[in-house]
Symmetry: C2
Subunit: 373 residues, 2 copies
């Protein structure tokens, strides 16, 4: 595991405070990674994202492959230089978007072939090509190509996929350059405990730098997600970070940190922001609501994000109603500030052995808010 | 003219270097005012707009009247506080948008009635209401309600409009609070020299703090605009600033400063930015052009705007092709930086008696660029 250094600095129950050392600087964990799908965290400059406390961001290999192309990004000096982000970047393999966004996917032992959702161009992705693409982007934390079955997929389908994943995992590791970045394996297995265990077992035999848990938060009941994590996290080989892919709702972050997860990513905080839904200690606040039309208060009273320091809910609502570009930017700043502040609070609590109290206070503050779904 | 202090610090031919003192700070002229139509200079924070060198911005009374409503803005502390802009704000009267954007306008001696372009609501604007609305917004530089006839309107129509304008002008001045902001008169008269002269004559009898030239850049040939300015600017009463409404193409700014104009506003630099057209010393550069797909250069080599300091044309083009929000923001930063830098260059040249040389160099640098229309 020479490509990634991970130290656990403190534990509190299963929750752990850690530090992840990458070739582009270290990241305190548990950490949330804002998503920069197409080479930009939507509406923000990299300096703002870093200023909010983000230390690592995520880039989507599928999107960058089809536009502007990984070869183009490589020719322009790699993704860091292209988008102006200095810190570490984790890239996904592209597989998740192939299965969720592209058209006419066909999976074979070799890989997956599909049509671009943009122009219908025929493309394919193999375990080797996914690693090559991520290396061309200059990724610091790469993900293996895996097949993420939909929630509720039949057992046999899920089993065949994870057995193929294990063969793809070995090919991904073999495809990595000698000086390549860290590479993480992905545990699948749906909601079947014995398949999750089998997936862990197969991947643990390989030389990954850490493990991600995939195939969750894809539409299954929340209890299923928690049960899988409860079982699976302790089975993972020790020594590397545990990354829960695609999870980022505040309540899930707090709960999953308590089950030992170290890394998270999700478009939810930024996508919600662009829809006018703001995250606060009391839960969600929908700025489009007419009751904010003349509300002089900030989104959240004691928040020191740029939106709350200077603007009223009435102004922000006006920006949303008028579809002004500044709306998306200010709301994104607030939601990322909230999420990154939440992670920082979790880290502090774990360090002080106060995770349980932190989680209790977090859930208590959200009681009685009708906007929380 | 106690509400506005204007001093001419130097002249160079007809071009003049001045300083406009408002109740919210002073503005070096000639100056360009970025347009914040709906209480925001699209995509930017006020601190960024000020950081680019803007000292005064424009707000559109028509837009703010219909959304969120001037009463709402007033209740929230006025437009400055609402949008977080500390410097002076010039507001138009709302008339221009009524005639260009609203539906079913009916002009009478009393004022103009119309339907909102948003929801069809029946509204009306009078000279008094236009002043009242601007005062509720907290405007520092208000404009009288006028009727801007379309380019090529018949002489009789234009004459009736400007005679009515003169009566509206007196009513606007009478409607102003004793502690109200500066109020500027608007010269109309289309392309008819004797009507322009008549408009100036009528307005000069009234106690305005400065004069704007309206009804230009509305579709007439460029020679017509220059001829009107050539005649009209010297006829204006001395002592106040001269404001040319709705003009902001770089070549027009350079030419019109040479005819004695002190203030300009235009959506062109910011609207062009959002369409991917960037302003440079060589003229326009259309970032969507395929030839920039792998271009590692910045928009402009020696530009120190945030877009040019950190990003390649290839990256910016990618953002435009992917319709990423950051595209509009970075392009707006560049274009406003360019325009405000151009104004600063003009001021320096006038102060050094080098306006002619500046204008010659400006036009020479743009030769041979096929993107300049």
């Amino acid at each position: 595991m020479g490509r990634l250094r991970f130290s656990v600095l403190a534990t509190d129950g299963r929750a752990r405070l850690g530090r992840l050392g990458t070739r582009r600087g270290s990241v305190d964990t548990p950490a949330f990674m804002p998503v920069g799908t197409q080479g930009t965290v939507k509406s923000l400059l990299p300096g703002e994202v870093a200023g909010l406390g983000a230390r690592v961001i995520l880039g989507n290999t599928y999107h960058l492959m089809i536009r502007p192309g990984v070869e183009t990004v490589a020719r322009l000096g790699g993704l860091h230089r292209f988008m102006g982000w200095q810190g570490p970047i984790l890239t996904d393999s592209g597989g998740f978007q192939v299965f969720s966004l592209a058209a006419r996917c066909e999976v074979s032992e070799e890989g997956v072939s599909f049509r671009s959702h943009l122009d219908g161009a025929r493309l394919s992705l193999t375990p080797e090509r996914a690693v090559e693409a991520q290396q061309m982007l200059g990724s610091d934390l790469m993900m293996m190509l895996d097949h993420c079955p939909p929630a509720g997929a039949p057992r046999d389908f899920v089993e065949q996929a994870l057995l193929r994943d294990a063969r793809w995992a070995a090919r991904a590791l073999a495809a990595r350059d000698r000086r390549g970045a860290a590479l993480l394996g992905i545990v699948q297995g749906g909601a079947y405990p014995e398949l999750r265990a089998r997936s862990v077992e197969l991947l643990a035999e390989l030389d990954f730098d850490g493990y991600a848990i995939g195939g969750l938060s894809v539409g299954e009941p929340k209890e299923t997600m928690m049960a899988v994590l409860q079982d699976t996290v302790p089975q993972l080989p020790p020594g590397g970070p545990v990354y829960l892919m695609g999870v980022g709702a505040p309540e899930d972050l707090v709960a999953c940190v308590g089950l030992g997860v170290d890394l998270f990513d999700c478009v939810m905080p930024t996508r919600m922001a662009r829809n006018g839904t703001l995250l606060t200690k009391r839960g969600r606040l929908n700025l489009r609501n007419a009751r904010f039309k003349q509300d002089p208060q900030p989104i959240e009273e004691d928040c020191d994000c740029p939106a709350c320091l200077s603007y009223s809910r009435a102004y922000l609502r006006h920006l949303f109603m008028a579809r002004e570009l500044l709306a998306y930017r200010l709301a994104t700043l607030h939601n990322l500030h909230y999420i990154l502040g939440l992670m920082s609070g979790l880290r502090r609590a774990i360090g002080q052995g106060q995770y349980q109290a932190f989680a209790r206070d977090f859930f208590a503050a959200r009681q009685g808010n009708p906007d929380n779904e």
